[in-house]
Amino acid sequence: MEPRRRAPRVEFLYWEGCPSHPEALDLLREVLAGRGIDARVELREVTTQEEAEALRFPGSPTIRVDGRDVDPAGADGRPALNCRIYYLPDGQVSPVPTREQLEEALR
């Protein structure tokens, strides 16, 4: 029998000042459910610049799977309380990651 795969650690860091996090959290939970992954999403609100620096938080939302950012290209951005920029395949920008980025991170 194939051993059951360990559920990944999923962290969701957000700043209340940016309105994108509810949409991103819904999308994340949808992707987790779609892939049959029974993982608890660890929510963490970032409220100060000091926290942003300590957590290496480049903007809201930031999502990590087993410690790896779902958008590695943007993971090293300057820590700040702001809305994070995600780049879409067509070059447009978005304040939330794409479904494909989340799927890839959870693969």
């Binding site: 000042g17 940016c18 309105p19 994108s20 610049q49 700040a80 702001n82 809305c83 994070r84 920029i85 995600y86 447009q92 920008v93 978005s94 304040p95």
Partner: protein, 171 residues
């Protein structure tokens, strides 16, 4: 706030721009804006398109960045000039380091629209349209308001909820 605030701000074109400089405009659209916000970035091509489409009808669209550039260096005047050139902005882009315009407008978000008629009375306040994704737009709030104001009528919606980043106030 029911009338346009007085201002005299430096633009990315190297000139100063005051409210009086727009006296001939049939409508003046002030948009609280900035560089770093993904919501602004998602909408800025539509801001240019509106200026291009309505310029012949006397509309002036003016973006104002009031964000604290010390905490958000992407919003510095130099970065504004660089972004405006790179993106080919069709609208004026002004720097408000004292944050006086944002305070007068009582702005909270970027982007946030304030449409003033020929008499500089506020006629529409809120979002540019109803989706940051231009392919998903169903309501063109600002364009509809401009059409109504230019025709001497009332905007279908005088107020909508602006969606975007917060204005970055100095502490």
């Amino acid at each position: 706030m029911t009338t346009a605030p007085q201002f005299d701000l430096e633009g990315v074109d190297g000139r100063r721009h005051s409210l009086d400089d727009y006296a001939d405009a049939a409508a003046l659209v002030l948009i609280q804006s900035c560089n770093h916000c993904p919501y602004v970035q998602a909408w800025e091509d539509r801001m240019s398109a509106i200026q291009r489409d309505y310029g012949d009808r006397g509309v002036r669209l003016v973006a104002v960045n009031s964000n604290d550039a010390d905490d958000y260096p992407e919003d510095s005047f130099e970065e504004m000039r660089s972004r405006a050139e790179r993106r080919g902005f069709a609208f004026d882009y002004l720097y408000d380091p004292s944050q006086g315009v944002a305070r007068e407008l009582e702005a909270e978000r970027t982007p946030e629209v304030f449409l003033f008629d020929r008499d500089r009375r506020l006629r529409y306040h809120g979002a540019i349209d109803d989706s940051r994704n231009e392919h998903a737009v169903t309501q063109h709030y600002l364009r509809d308001a401009l059409d109504a104001v230019l025709a001497g009528g009332e905007p279908p919606a005088a107020e909508t909820m602006p969606v975007g980043c917060t204005v970055k106030w100095r502490h």
